[in-house]
């Protein structure tokens, strides 16, 4: 008898819990998130433009300057991640810190660091590519498909 009562009270408790937690569940703040993503993403791209213009100012051809800009941004993304600064930005920026190439570098370091204890090969070496791997795979395959179409188009017409 006493046992039944306790089970019942647990059920009531669970129902209450579900009802209250459903009511108070945090909805994503669409507007704020979108604005933050826009501002941070825009800032990173503007920084890239600044770096590129400085390098062009040194007399580097544009194509090389674009490549050096990418390398500098990758350096910044991975170093700031290692020192925990990029994650601080990312907490508020969302996609604004994920989508730029700095976010690609961030994904490599943050995944690798978390699994470093599993060893240099299957830990660090493999987990570096948890996110970067799929990106490279899909980028390579989709551009290969494009290349094949482009090639056949040139042969036929």
């Amino acid at each position: 008898m006493a046992k039944n009562e306790r089970i019942k009270s647990e059920e009531v408790f669970r129902e209450d819990y579900e009802r209250i937690s459903k009511k108070n569940k945090a909805k994503p703040e669409y507007f704020k998130n979108a604005v933050m993503a826009f501002l941070v993403g825009g800032t990173i791209c503007t920084l890239g433009q600044l770096i590129k213009n400085i390098i062009i100012g040194w007399g580097t051809p544009e194509q090389d300057a674009a490549l050096i800009t990418t390398i500098v941004l990758v350096f910044l993304g991975s170093s700031l991640t290692a020192f925990g600064i990029y994650d601080m930005i990312g907490r508020h920026a969302g996609a604004g810190s994920i989508v730029p190439i700095t976010g690609f570098a961030n994904s490599i370091v943050s995944c690798a660091v978390d699994f470093k204890t599993e060893g240099p090969v299957f830990g660090l070496g493999a987990k570096m590519f948890t996110i970067a791997g799929p990106v490279i795979v899909y980028a390579t395959v989709s551009s290969w498909i494009f290349g094949l179409i482009y090639y056949l188009w040139g042969v036929i017409f």
Binding site: T46, Q49, T81, G94, A95, G103, I108, I136, G147
Partner: protein, 120 residues
């Protein structure tokens, strides 16, 4: 000069804003967004649309991951024009070599330096 930076800010910001809205409305996580963006970049570049965005936005279009797809497509086109069928296989990764190479090297070095921490 100022306009160049403004357009980089607006185009780059807009690409990130779209990604943020997709993430908030769906259950997609960052890795999936990056894959979608890179493939979207390849498709839009293949159709010749992304070129306009690069002309207008400069780094605003090349720094986001869609620009990575654009780099691959441009590299593929150049390589196919020069070398034919071999270029289909070499073009994309040759163009992306700087980005991937630096990401692997710097990623490795800074992973050694960085320390694991709980994220929550």
């Amino acid at each position: 000069m100022f306009e160049e930076y403004l357009w980089a800010f607006v185009i780059g910001g807009a690409l990130c804003l779209i990604a943020q809205i997709i993430m908030d409305l769906t259950k997609l996580v960052s890795g999936e967004i990056l894959v979608i963006y890179v493939v979207a970049g390849v498709v839009l570049s293949a159709l010749g649309i992304y070129e306009y965005l690069v002309d207008l936005g400069g780094c605003g279009a090349t720094v986001p991951l869609t620009g990575f797809g654009y780099t691959l497509v441009k590299g593929t086109m150049t390589a196919v024009d020069e070398r034919g069928l071999i270029g289909v296989f070499t073009g994309g990764l040759t163009a992306a070599a700087g980005g991937i190479g630096s990401a692997v090297v710097f990623g490795y070095i800074f992973s050694l330096i960085g320390r694991a921490k709980t994220k929550y």
